[in-house]
Amino acid sequence: MEALALLQDVFDILLGFGLLWLAWLALFSLDLFRSIVSFISFGLLMAIIWVRLDAPDVALAEAAIGAGLTGALFLAAFAKLQPASVNGKGSSINPQKQSSRKQLLRWLPALIMLWIASGLTIAILALPPHATGLTSEVTSNLTASGVSNPVTAVLLNFRGYDTLLEIVVLLLALLAVWSIGSSVPSIESEPGPVLDTLSRLLVPILIMVSAYLLWVGAHAPGGAFQAGAVLGAAGVLLVLSGWKLYPGLEGFPLRLVLTAGSITFVVIAILTMLVSGTFMQFPPAQASILILILEMVATLSIGVTLAALFIGSPPTDIKKL
């Protein structure tokens, strides 16, 4: 057992340093493309670390959103940057350009970073080695929450208000992107038969996975965000293989789907207020079904929103107005 513990420690150390190394590559590699790829790998490694830290819900979210979708966003932006910028690649570090003053401008922040890092290290190490946080409160109220996965309970019941605002943040990001991005070129690709086949095969599976994650989220790792992210990934895949939304759906129907999550949240919150007298107080008996409804609609909205974020430019219906 000693050996196993040691092995685990070595594994942790390797993971930790691997993470730092990938972060370094992502930030300071000469080739921007390599940076982005490093960042995606960074996200995957991060997901493994989440598992190591017994945070499978976070791991799922990280893999799907942190590494997957964020990575896709970066890659898409990188692709769009190429024609627009004069020196898209590796413009950040140019050895010839560095004068002594620039050297100083690098060393000074580096020293400050070291100082901050050491201060924070001391602060973290000063924390007591054991702390329960809110574990006991969560556990004792879990039965009343309507779900048995504590993370889902926190997300959708105990701190559901945060989650409502968070969904609004996501929607807001899309509004902002649409507001800004009306002239940003959309991605054009010739999918080719392989990608086409792949997407036809993969998208149904992804939808199924999404539904599974949603369902299982009540008692095991998973939930609306993870499910939504998978759905979003399916959407991204469709976009990449050249699928387009039926024009009739680009207007109000699309907007309705995008807002459905927030609207459902608000409606349920108001209903609970009418029934129990308190905003977002789910009656324990109905909590589970309410949360499921909420998550289902939210998943759909999150998925579509993420896919729309990936596309970047607003649908023509918005654009022409």
Binding site: G119, L120, I122, A123, I124, A126, L127, A131, T132, G133, L134, E137, V138, N141, N157, F158, R159, G160, Y161, D162, L165, E166, V168, V169, L171, L172, A173, L175, A176, W178, S179, I180, F252, R255, L256, L258, T259, S262, I263, V266, A269, I270, M273, L274, S276, T278, F279, M280, Q281, F282, I318, L321
Partner: protein, 486 residues
């Protein structure tokens, strides 16, 4: 349903109304103007209702989801947050009225949902008693603000908004880091619970440092102000108004709240540092404002200076807590009204002349009298001249400083006032003269002029109701009951 008027959950309405309003504006963009206006009026009414409730019954608590701290999220309204909510509603009303005719149709569709979400974030922020919830509202506010700041679509606007975005994201992250440390040190996210459990240790210090740094960056205290002037100057006028009047204040509000409830237990000299930086901000911001040739940049730098005044309260509060803090809160209120009026007026001048170069204003005093009046009245408050809200806060600040013989701060305040007069009259002086190249004016709708005047008038009126407002500030004694009062 046994809900009487007084029991109506006004606080929840303050969050849900703009939220649903924003969603509706997105869903039905063709009627967004009406939806937006109705929403803002609703928010105004809710804020009034909440105000009535709080003034009548004292501090207001709400357990979202019925869980209560530390497990759930609580809403908390005392005099301080109530006033923030009310001034938010008031500025929102003015800005919304202004925006009806400011934006073209295609921009109306973009503006209203973003703006109502921003309003949601502001209301939620002022209501929240939970530090992680505050983080979420901060992010919501920051992203909405950045998106709104790009609405002019100019190159400068995008560059400025990009800086703003980076600054606000960095600020939020530092804040979140602090929240993480606080949570893991004291096992709660609720401010009241944290306040009880707080003890001074190295982790608490680090949390304090991170949170202060993040919020100071977001509040644009010198020398972290670099992002503010371009972002505020290049945004559309109503957006500049909201950014300067409310968004900057929101992060200051959190800083103030956490300082009062939690970090005052640390034995720190940071208050002196804040006072020092605030002093530099006042002088530097005013001098920069004086140097500007464009009105909007001038007004934006004036915000940098006025933010400096807010931080003077920290060193002053050590001995005369209530007076100094009241002064800061009063300044927040009057500056919110005055600065929004000023930006709206600047927007009118921009629309009128097609530019906002101060030297070429060309007799606007004759041709846009209401706008110039709004600018002037707002200027009176900014300069701290009586009768205005600005005067009251300056009076209280000076009083606090003189009681403690803080001569340096006294000098800074006086010089700041004189410099403010200099930059404001730099604009007003040109309003009477004829420009070298007279030009054909653009049309400025009456609502845009009156909206500015309404807000400026509010800033002046604040000068007459100091007793009442100072009494509201002390509901729930956010500044501590045992403190010395002058």
């Amino acid at each position: 349903m046994g809900i009487t008027f007084i029991d109506f959950p006004w606080a929840i309405a303050l969050i849900l109304l703009p939220l649903t309003g924003g969603l509706s504006c997105f869903l039905w963009p063709s009627v967004s103007k009406i939806l937006g206006l109705v929403t803002v009026i609703g928010v105004m009414l809710s804020a009034t209702g909440l105000g009535w409730l709080v003034i009548d019954k004292g501090v207001y608590h709400y357990l979202v989801g019925g869980w209560g701290a530390p497990l759930g999220i609580e809403l908390y309204v005392d005099g301080l947050s109530l006033l923030m909510l009310m001034v938010t509603a008031l500025v929102a009303l003015g800005v919304s009225i202004y925006s009806i005719h400011y934006f073209e149709l295609s921009y109306q569709r973009r503006f209203w949902p973003l703006w109502l979400f921003l309003l949601t974030a502001l209301n939620a922020l002022f209501l929240s008693a939970d530090i992680f919830n505050l983080y979420v509202t901060l992010e919501l506010m920051g992203l909405a603000a950045v998106a709104l700041a790009t609405l002019t679509g100019s190159h400068d606007a995008f560059t400025a908004a990009m800086r703003y975005l980076l600054a606000t994201l960095l600020g939020s992250l530092a804040f979140l880091f602090g929240v993480v440390l606080l949570y893991h040190s004291f096992g709660s996210l609720d401010i009241a619970v944290l306040s009880e459990r707080f003890e001074s240790n190295i982790t608490a210090w680090a949390a304090f440092g991170l949170i202060s740094a993040g919020l100071v960056l977001k509040t644009a205290l010198f020398p972290m102000h670099f992002w503010l002037p371009p972002a505020h100057a290049n945004a559309p006028a109503p957006v500049s108004a909201v950014l300067s009047a409310l968004v900057v204040k929101a992060s200051f509000y959190i800083l103030l709240r956490l300082w009062l409830e939690i970090f005052s237990q640390l034995d720190t000299d940071v208050d002196i540092l804040f006072g020092f930086l605030g002093s530099i901000a006042i002088i530097w911001g005013s001098l920069q404002a004086l140097r500007q040739t464009r009105i909007k940049l001038l007004v934006a730098y004036s915000t940098v200076a006025q933010v400096g005044y807010l931080f003077l309260a920290f060193p002053l509060a050590e001995k005369v807590g209530v007076t100094a803090w009241s002064a800061a809160v009063y300044l927040i209120l009057s500056h919110a009204l005055a600065k929004s009026a000023m930006f709206l007026a600047a927007g009118n001048l921009l629309r009128f002349g097609g530019h906002d170069r101060i030297a070429d204003l060309d007799r606007v005093a004759q041709r846009l009298p209401i706008t110039v009046a709004a600018f002037a009245l707002a200027g009176v408050s900014i300069m701290g001249l009586p009768p205005s809200g600005g005067f009251i806060s300056k009076w209280l600040l000076l009083q606090s400083a003189l009681v403690q013989s803080q001569w340096g701060l006294v000098g800074v305040m006086l010089i700041g006032g004189v410099l403010a007069a200099a930059y404001i009259f730099k604009v007003l002086g040109r309003a009477f003269t004829q420009a070298p190249l007279p030009h054909e004016p653009g049309v400025v709708p009456a609502t845009m002029e009156w909206a500015a005047l309404l807000l400026a008038g509010g800033a002046i009126l604040l000068g007459f109701f100091a007793s009442e407002i100072l009494a509201i500030i002390e509901i729930g004694s956010p500044f501590g009951a045992g403190e010395v009062k002058l």
